[in-house]
C-alpha cells in the first residue's frame, strides 16, 4: 500500500501506517486523514502534534492517560477526556491518531 503524494508514492504498511516515518509532513497527514474520513480541525492537530513531540522524545506513542493529561493542561477539562478523543478519532485515538501523525501502530493487547 502507498499514498500518492506530490507525484511520488509514499510507502505504507497494509493498514496505512507509514513505513518510513521521516517522510511525514503536515500535507501528507491531511491526505492520510482524508482516507480515514477525518477532517482535520485545530483540535485534531493538537493531538497529532503532541503525539509527534512525545514520539520524538520517547520513540513510542504516549499512553492514552498521558495524552489526555497533556491535552487537559493545554485545552482544559472538556477537551481532554477519552470520550472526547473518540469523537475526534472514532476508530480510537491511539491507532487512528498515530496513523495520521505518521507513527507506527501501537501493538499488543491494546
Amino acid at each position: 500500500m502507498s499514498y500518492h503524494f506530490n507525484g511520488a508514492d509514499i510507502a505504507s504498511d497494509e493498514e496505512g501506517y507509514l513505513t518510513d516515518l521521516s517522510l511525514w509532513n503536515p500535507e501528507l497527514a491531511l491526505l492520510i486523514a482524508k482516507d480515514e474520513k477525518i477532517e482535520m480541525s485545530d483540535e485534531h492537530w493538537e493531538v497529532v502534534n503532541f503525539l509527534r513531540e512525545y514520539y520524538d522524545e520517547y520513540q513510542i506513542a504516549p499512553a492514552i492517560r498521558v495524552l489526555t493529561k497533556a491535552l487537559k493542561k493545554k485545552l482544559g477539562e472538556e477537551k481532554s477526556s477519552n470520550k472526547y478523543l473518540y469523537e475526534l478519532f472514532p476508530y480510537g485515538p491511539a491507532k487512528q491518531a498515530c496513523k495520521i501523525a505518521g507513527l507506527p501502530k501501537p501493538t499488543g493487547c491494546v
Binding site: P62, A63, N82, G108, C109
Partner: protein, 506 residues
Amino acid sequence: MDAIVPGSDADRLDPLEIPTLCPGAMAASQPWGASPDHQKALGFPGELVDDWQNVAIAKMGELLEKNRALRVYLDSCVKCGACTDKCHYFLGTGDPKNMPVARQDLLRKVYRRYFTFTGKYFPGLVGAEELTKEVIDDWYSYFHQCSQCRRCSVFCPYGIDTAEISMAGREILDAIGKGQKYCNEIIGKVHTIGNNLGLNKNALRSTLEGLEEDIEDDIGVPVKLPLDVKGADILLVTPSADFFAEPHVDGLIGYAKVFHAAGASWTISSYASEAANFGMFIGSYEQMRLISLRIREAALDLGVKRIVFGECGHAWRVAYSFLNTLAGPFDFLDQRYPIPQHICEYTWDLIQKGALEFDKSKNDHIRLTYHDSCNVARATRMGDQPGGQFEIPRAILKTVCNHYFDMAQDTIRDQTFCCGGGGGLLTDELMDIRKKGASPRMKALKTVAEDHGVTHMAAICAICKTQFAKVMPDWGFERDSILSVHQLVSNAIILQKPKQENDDDR
C-alpha cells in the same frame, strides 16, 4: 443445551442459539502475513519455502513425536458432534468450518494421509487428504478463527483440546514461512524491547511517574509505581497494555494501591515488562520459553522473593501451568508463597486477613457482572480450592461492590465464552470475526442488563478489556462499561493519607 434465562420469552436473546449454516462464510477471513523481517527474527523462514509440502509434513511429524497429546487428539475423535455448537466463532458466523470438529479435521485429514496406515493406503475410506495449497489456505483462515479458549474441550467426551490443534497448525504454518503479522511482530518486540507494546525503559519510567502524580492529585496519597528496584520483595509482571490502554491502566493503579495498603516492597521490571506470552498463541514452545526466561532473569537480577502476575488471561495460563517447566526451578524465591501468584490471589489474601479497608459505596453507580476470561477459567486455577479461579475474582468484586449479578450459568465459569479477541486474534483486520465471535457473550450481557440493570462488566484479561471496549458500543453499552477488576478495588479502597513507606524492608 438450552440457555438458562430466567423468565425467558421468544424475544430474548439466546447466547447459545444455533445459527443457520453458512458454508464458506468466513473462508476469506485471514490475518495479515508476517513480513520476512518479523519471521526471520524468530528463526522462521521469511516467506513460503519452495518445498513447503515436505517441510510441513516433517514439522507435523516432529510435533507428533514431541507432543503425545496431539496424536491422541487426532486419533480419538469419534465424530459424536458434542462440540459442534460450542464454539463462539461458530455461533457467531454459522460457518461449519468453525465447528471445533471441522477445525480439527483440517489437520486430522492431513495427519491421516501421511501418518496412518489406513490413510496412506485407503485415504478415501477415512477422509484422508493430501496437503495442498488449498488446505494451507484453509489452515491460515480457520486456525486464525480459533482463540484457543478450550470451550469445546469442556463438552468433548474425550477431552480433545482444539487449542492444541490450532497451535500445532500455526506452528506448522510458521515453519513453512507463513506466519501471522500480529503475533510475530509482537514477539519480536518482546525480545528487543521487553514488551508487546515496544515501550522502552524511559517511556515506561515517565509513564509510571505520571501515574504516581495522577494518583496523588486524585486521592492525596503518594502511591508509588516503582521500576527496577533491586532488593524489592515482589516483582509485578503485568501486560504492557496496563501501562497504555483504558481501562487497563486503572487496574494497574488498583494493584499499586493494594501494594501500598499492604506496605509491600514491590517493583516492575523494565526488562520483563510484559506478562503476555504470545509464544503460546503461535504454538511455539521455544518462543514461550524464551519469553518466560526474561521473567526469571529479571527476578534474579532484581533479587526479588516473589513474583506476582497482573490481570492477563493467557499470561496466567502460561505462568500457572508452564512457568516452572519453561523457566524454573524457582528455588530462589520465597517458598511460602505461590510461585507465581496472581494479583487476585494476593488481594484476596489481604482481604481475608482484614488488611484492606473499603468504602463499597464508591462503586454504587455500578451494577456489575463478571466475564470469566477463557484462559483463566479453563487452563488455570487460583488459591487452594478447586474453582478458585471463578470464586476469587467474584469474592473480590463482591467485597468492593454492592451490586453484583452473574450472567446465565451456561455462559460463565468453565462454560464461559472467549471475548472473541483471544489467541492472537486481537488485530484490526480480523474485526469481523472478532465482533461475530463476541456475540454470544454480548447476548448474555444484554440479558443480565435487562434482568438486573447491569451497567458494567469486569474482567482480568488485557485482551478481553480491549476487545470489549471495541465491541460493547455495538450492543448499546458505553465504551467504558468494561472495567478492570482492580479498577473497582481502586475505586473503593481506603488509604491512609499521612505517612507512606517506600522502603525495602518488611
